[in-house]
Symmetry: C2
Subunit: 210 residues, 2 copies
Amino acid sequence: MRIGELSKVTEVPVPTIKYYLREGLLPAGELSSPNQASYGEPHVRRLRLIRALVELAQVPVAQVKDILESLDSDDVPLHEQIGRAHRALTPTRKQTATEEARIAATTQVTDLITRRGWTVEPEAPALATLIETVAAFRTLSQDNLVTLLDAYADAVDSFAALEIEAVTANPTRDQLAESVVIGTILGETLISSLRLLAQESTSAKHWKNR
Amino acid sequence: MRIGELSKVTEVPVPTIKYYLREGLLPAGELSSPNQASYGEPHVRRLRLIRALVELAQVPVAQVKDILESLDSDDVPLHEQIGRAHRALTPTRKQTATEEARIAATTQVTDLITRRGWTVEPEAPALATLIETVAAFRTLSQDNLVTLLDAYADAVDSFAALEIEAVTANPTRDQLAESVVIGTILGETLISSLRLLAQESTSAKHWKNR
């Protein structure tokens, strides 16, 4: 199909498709004449993936490009592909907590990881974010909320076990890698919106008139 | 204290503090002379909250302002304050799924909410995001991952029960409202970074050489 039909099928405007082509997010079509390219089902699929990552999960275009490049390299091990999806979800954040709170948070998080037997790279960006967030709770005098850390950790451990089982059901290595990226990134949007609905419902029951 | 000392205590640069004052995020100091304002402990506290929301949770400044205004209005009911924190976490997102997938997702999400007995406003922004995300999973042929919806919903239901218990322990109404905002917004950063660490660890165990 031509670019106009690709646009119609995916509901993505032609200028946006051209932008993704220019940025290297979407592979070029097959040249059917010197001025005409032809696109197929893989382009439709890839374009839908790009849109979901950019528009729904709101991942910056530069990071989407990096993730898609890793998906297209057969020599990138799965574990590294997960690492790239993770980096897309963990922007560098400024430190906002007090030094005292950060020291306490580092101990608390290190103990948690040891207790759960997690294998985590010391330079994992999510580790820095977790420590900084626990430190922020402490700096903001929310020690009550910090006690929920173990309950959250129990839940994400069970998520990871279910997620790995669900993605392993994919028949090919390429589909598995794509599932890993989608499950990691869009899974966050899913859990976040579910949590807000559960909170809204609980709040409506407890606090409607408070 | 003067603005220079406020900057030193909180490690926030003076121009940034002036920006927050101008935008109305931080209340003005008390005038000690026509050209000099004096700041106290409430300013330190508020500035730390602003930094955590803006820099750590990466909430846009306009939304932080709206949240802080609601915190400062004693007449805003708790349930409405939660609503404002929720809107800060749910930007409007473009639709990226197919119409067919969206219809199926709407049924699936509506059934889930009925099954769980959740009380949710039909126009809750998180509801639209949830439906669009489930629809995106379906559009991207990730039906396997959609089956995890109930497991995620179980977890967030138990989170909400624990969270409401933790924030209710606050002695005053103002502190309770502040806890609700922090727990809702920074709680998301906490859960997200924990989930990435659990995934990294599970991936390292299963897929180190794949």
